[in-house]
Amino acid sequence: MAIRRIRIALVLFGLAFLGLGAYVAWIWLSHKQYARVIEWLIGALIVHDGIIAPAVFLVTLLGRRLGARVPAVVIALVEGALAVGGIFTLLFLPEVLKKLIGTASSSILPQNYALHLGVFYVVLGLLTAAAILFYVRVFVRRQNLREPADQA
């Protein structure tokens, strides 16, 4: 009963906030701006559900197919590095592009973001390779040594 009341209260609170947000947007934005916001909202769903999610799906699928030949930890490390690299690209590639286009002041986007992003990819790649090598040398070798001993 308490749960039901909490759910009703949450729905009412949520509807009130949704209404307030839509109302504020309606009175503050011109029809043209309102339409543009809706374009952005629909575009966000298309970009996520139509591009990013299927790309992630394909990568995980390939990882799963490779699972028969490659250790799961190695696949997890590569997938993790790709995910981190992808998130950094989504966040900071626009920064690189805006700096190329130009800014209103020299203290806006003052850093060499293209170089930093490049260095980040290299560091991420090296760290991933090092982690894979470490895993293969230590754990896989230990496992190989254990297996003959088990058989004996």
Binding site: F17, V24, L41, V56, G67, A72, L91, I108
Partner: protein, 417 residues
């Protein structure tokens, strides 16, 4: 179509994609959204207060802190939101897609939540890059309105998912001894009775058969740990490599922040330049004066006259709504003494007008507690040098715990009301 959706859903299954993962991430994301909402509301109302609203002047770094937290938490939301969406992606292909009116409302509320969240954080980030041309709408107004829509749809989402949230709140009761998820007893998966698409019927069936041949992950624990480790690295990376723009001790790590401490005229960043504000001539005119007026008296001060008044020195941060901030050492005249010089009331507010034209921030207002604060100055110097024109020469306002956009530069007029 039902089999196709089911096939997609099955293909997307992974140990890290389960209700417990979604709940664990949802808790973090919910907390992050609430922090962003509250700090954002504070920033909004300190700029546009409702009648009767009053704001604190201490600690002096209050706005620096709240806005730094706002932007940093906003950046943190990217990996958390992507991880959350990853964890629930198979649900996109649930069958039947719509089970009834309530289910339609549920899916609609999720679509609104996802879309508004993505737009809110994406435009928020682009705003810190000052890439306004992409928007086509007023950023500030849209950001404010979408914040309410996000919190509203989040509340509805929590209401709908409350049984699942309570069931999987604790890790200890979410998994069995082998690390497998304990299913919800009241909602058996009806899809499990559906046969997989037959091999040989078409391309889709062949693809699903190819996927189905792939071995599932051997250890669900390993898969989940790998997933959370990835999320953790991404969070640490995006936050650690930007947070220095808001929190100076971490400046050395700031390689992706849109602002860098110490970069700008007189080593202090600038958002709006004198050229952009079109004050290059008016601010350097030899006949510039600062007019101070109350209902009883009006006086005009040249810069030399201001310099002849008692000078005070304060350490206050410039804290931008875009999250960056930097502490600086300011020297100038106390605003309260200027107000007293025209017999302004002790309870008077002050309207500060800039030489700047066509800007919503050309006129700003200070409530009485800011006017009477000993740290509120009409600054003439910063960090031991005469103000650079881009920092507001010949005189600018600097007050504790106020957003940078309200620290009016290129002052021309102060009026009590």
């Amino acid at each position: 179509m039902q089999r196709l959706l089911y096939g997609f859903r099955q293909a997307l299954q992974a140990p890290s994609r389960n209700p417990r993962t979604a709940v664990a991430l949802g808790r973090l994301l919910g907390a992050a959204f609430i922090i962003c909402f509250l700090t954002g509301i504070y920033s909004h109302f300190i700029q546009d207060p409702l009648p009767g609203m009053q704001f604190l002047t201490r600690p002096v770094w209050l706005y620096q802190f709240t806005q730094g937290v706002h932007i940093t938490t906003g950046i943190l939301c990217f990996p958390l939101l992507f991880a959350k969406l990853y964890s629930i992606f198979p649900l996109l292909f649930q069958t039947p897609p719509i089970k009834g009116f309530l289910h339609l409302l549920e899916r609609a509320s999720i679509a609104i939540f996802v879309a508004s969240s993505l737009v809110e954080i994406a435009t928020g980030l682009l705003n810190t890059y000052q890439w306004y041309a992409l928007f086509g709408f007023s950023f500030r107004r849209t950001h404010f309105a979408l914040a309410f829509i996000i919190i509203g749809s989040l509340a509805i989402h929590i209401a709908v998912k409350l049984p699942i949230i309570t069931k999987y709140w604790r890790k200890s009761t979410s998994y069995d001894d082998d690390g497998n998820l304990v299913p919800l007893p009241e909602e058996p998966d009806k899809n499990s009775r559906l046969p997989l698409p037959d091999v040989g019927i078409g391309i889709t069936s062949r693809v699903f058969a190819w996927i189905d041949k792939a071995p599932p992950p051997k250890s669900p624990r390993l898969s989940r740990r790998g997933f959370f480790a990835t999320v953790g690295v991404a969070v640490l990376g995006v936050v650690g490599l930007t947070v220095g723009q808001s929190f100076r001790p971490l400046d050395v790590l700031n390689v992706f922040g849109p602002r860098k401490a110490g970069v700008g005229p007189d080593t202090l960043p600038v958002n709006r330049t004198a050229a952009a504000a079109k004050v290059l001539e008016s601010a350097t005119a030899s006949d510039w004066t600062l007019t101070v007026s109350s209902s009883e008296l009006s006086r005009s001060f040249t810069r030399a006259e201001l310099e002849d008044m008692t000078q005070y020195q304060v350490d206050l941060p410039i804290a931008c709504v875009e999250g960056w901030s930097q502490m600086a050492h300011w020297k100038g005249v106390r605003l309260s003494e200027l107000v007293d010089s025209v017999r302004g009331s002790k309870n008077a507010s002050v309207r500060a007008t800039s030489l700047e034209q066509n800007s919503i921030y050309a006129v700003t207002e200070l409530e009485p507690n800011f006017v009477r604060d000993d740290l509120t100055l009409i600054a003439l110097e910063v960090d031991g040098k005469v103000l650079d024109i881009n920092h507001g020469y010949p005189a600018r306002l600097i007050a504790p715990a106020r957003p940078g956009v309200l620290q009016t530069k290129w002052l021309s007029k102060l009026e009590t009301f």
